[in-house]
Structures are given as structure tokens and as C-alpha cells.
């Protein structure tokens, strides 16, 4: 066990959030009704995505500081897993939106902002694929990654707060204020967020290790 404790913690926390997410009482709000429970499953996807993208940014900067390709691998793999989590976030959000806002896709600033930032990261993957030389690829990708992260923060965290949005926490609405989330929701929500971040990190670590084995065989 030893080094795997955080993986088990992630599984335990998400399992807890599944049990608590369905069984713990929630505020009875109109329109949302029982779908407020999606908060425990839809939003952690975004938190996990942003955590992984920040981890990726960290390693891109580390790469530029010493040009160690190991950092480039970590940055690359975490963007890939983050995009998968972001896709889950988008799909679950679309289902939720259809039943509460009446449409799979609304012209909400947060929705469009998220779509743009996910495309920005998709371009990161494409950019990597278009450069042959490993070192050159890593350098260009690392610089681009810094730009992409800043755009992501602007589009997901800043601009939606400056405009009217259907999402809580934007256009002057309190994000996790007492209006949307009471304290019983918090005791399920925060463990869910931490749990999903750990699961995302676990999958990323597996991908990083696979790439390492692949490289040692390639250059052996």
C-alpha cells in the first residue's frame, strides 16, 4: 500500500460522495428540484479538470526552467486527462441544462467560455502532433500551455463573473454562498471535489508511466 494511499483515499471520497450525494437531504429549490444533486457529480469534473490543467502549467514552467523532457511528458498527459474530464463536464452539464434551462446549449457566457477554453487545449494537442522533433515540440508546447492556461482562467473564472450568467457564482450571484448551497451540501461536495481530483491525478499518473515505458523501449 504505502505509496498508493492517495488512490485509495480518492476512491473512498468519491464512494462517499455517491452515497451522500443520493441520500443526504438537499435544499428544496424550484426548477432545480432533485437535480440539485448533480452538483456532487457535474461540478467536481470541472474542479478536477482545472486542477490537472494547473498541474500541467506547473510542469510546463518546470520544463522551461531546465528542459527536462520528463516535465513535458507530465504536462502533456495531464492536459489529455483534463480534456476527458472536461468533456464529461460538458456532457453532464448539457443534460442538466436541458432539464432546468430548457435547452442542451444556452448562450450562457460560462458555457461558451468553457467551450472556447477546451478548444484552446485541443489546439495544444494538435500543436504537439504537428512537430516532429521532441525537444522543439516540448518547448513550443510549454510556451503555448502558459497562454492556454491564462485563457482558460479568463474564460471560465473571470468573464462569466463580469456578465450575466445562468450559473451560480456569476453575474453577482454567490457561487458557494448560503443561497445555493447549505452546510449539509458542503459536507458532500468538498470531499467529492477532492476525490475526483485524486482520481484524475491517478489516471494521469498511469498515463505518464505508460509513456515512460514506451520511451525506454523506443530509445533502448
Amino acid at each position: 500500500m504505502g505509496k498508493n494511499w492517495w488512490k485509495i483515499l480518492g476512491v473512498v471520497l468519491v464512494s462517499y460522495s455517491i452515497v451522500g450525494g443520493f441520500l443526504v437531504p438537499v435544499p428544496e429549490l424550484p426548477i432545480l428540484n432533485e437535480t440539485i444533486r448533480n452538483t456532487y457529480f457535474h461540478i467536481p469534473m470541472w474542479f478536477a479538470m482545472m486542477a490537472l490543467l494547473s498541474y500541467s502549467l506547473f510542469h510546463s514552467i518546470k520544463f522551461l526552467a531546465g528542459f527536462d523532457l520528463q516535465h513535458d511528458n507530465k504536462a502533456d498527459q495531464s492536459v489529455q486527462v483534463a480534456l476527458v474530464l472536461g468533456l464529461f463536464g460538458l456532457l453532464t452539464g448539457m443534460v442538466w441544462a436541458q432539464y432546468t434551462w430548457g435547452s442542451f446549449w444556452t448562450n450562457d457566457v460560462k458555457l461558451n467560455g468553457t467551450a472556447i477554453s477546451m478548444l484552446t487545449y485541443l489546439a495544444y494537442i494538435i500543436l504537439r502532433g504537428s512537430i516532429e522533433d521532441e525537444h522543439r515540440k516540448a518547448k513550443v508546447a510549454a510556451v503555448y500551455n502558459i497562454f492556454a492556461w491564462v485563457m482558460m482562467i479568463l474564460f471560465i473564472m473571470v468573464i462569466p463573473r463580469l456578465n450575466d450568467s445562468l450559473h451560480p457564482g456569476n453575474g453577482g450571484n454567490p457561487a458557494f454562498g448560503s443561497y445555493d448551497m447549505d452546510n449539509t451540501m458542503r459536507i458532500v461536495f468538498y470531499p467529492a471535489v477532492i476525490g475526483w481530483i485524486l482520481i484524475g491525478a491517478w489516471i494521469t499518473s498511469i498515463k505518464i508511466r505508460i509513456k515512460n515505458i514506451d520511451d525506454t523501449q523506443k530509445y533502448a
Binding site: 498508493n4 488512490k7 476512491v11 468519491v14 464512494s15 455517491i18 452515497v19 443520493f22 441520500l23 428544496e28 429549490l29 424550484p30 428540484n33 432533485e34 491517478w202 489516471i203 498511469i206 508511466r209 505508460i210 515512460n212 515505458i213 525506454t216 523501449q217 533502448a220
Partner: protein, 76 residues
């Protein structure tokens, strides 16, 4: 009574009826899945989702173990 007066009277009455109807609806409160909970069927849903998630987690662990072996066979 002119026709126009009658019209405005009717619309006034209709508005009043609508108002009382809306009031009655909101007094019932927000509809939640209380029945599903009281019947205990919600536990079935929880069990199914838990089995899927823990199953996936065990699968991830087995992939993890396999990687440990591969790393031993492919030292850097």
C-alpha cells in the same frame, strides 16, 4: 355596459383566477422525489452506481499493478 368594459371585467376575473391558481401551486412547495426515498428504492440506485464505480476503481488498481511489473522489466 359597453363591450370594452365587459372585456376588461372578464380579463380582471381571469387574472384573479390565475393569481389564485399560482398561489395554490407555489403553496404545495417544491416537488422532490420523496416517494422514491420513502419506499427505499433510492438505495437500489446507490448500490448500482457504487458497484460500477468501485468496479472501475478495482480495474484501475489492476492496471496499476500491471504497470508496476512492466516498470520492473523496463528499467530506465
Amino acid at each position: 355596459m359597453t363591450l370594452r368594459n365587459m372585456h376588461s371585467n372578464i380579463s380582471l376575473v381571469l387574472t384573479a383566477i390565475l393569481f389564485f391558481l399560482m398561489n395554490g401551486l407555489s403553496a404545495q412547495g417544491v416537488e422532490m422525489a420523496t416517494n422514491m426515498r420513502s419506499e427505499g428504492k433510492i438505495y437500489v440506485v446507490v448500490a448500482v452506481v457504487l458497484i460500477i464505480f468501485i468496479g472501475l476503481a478495482i480495474y484501475l488498481f489492476s492496471i496499476d499493478k500491471k504497470l508496476d511489473k512492466l516498470e520492473k522489466n523496463n528499467p530506465k
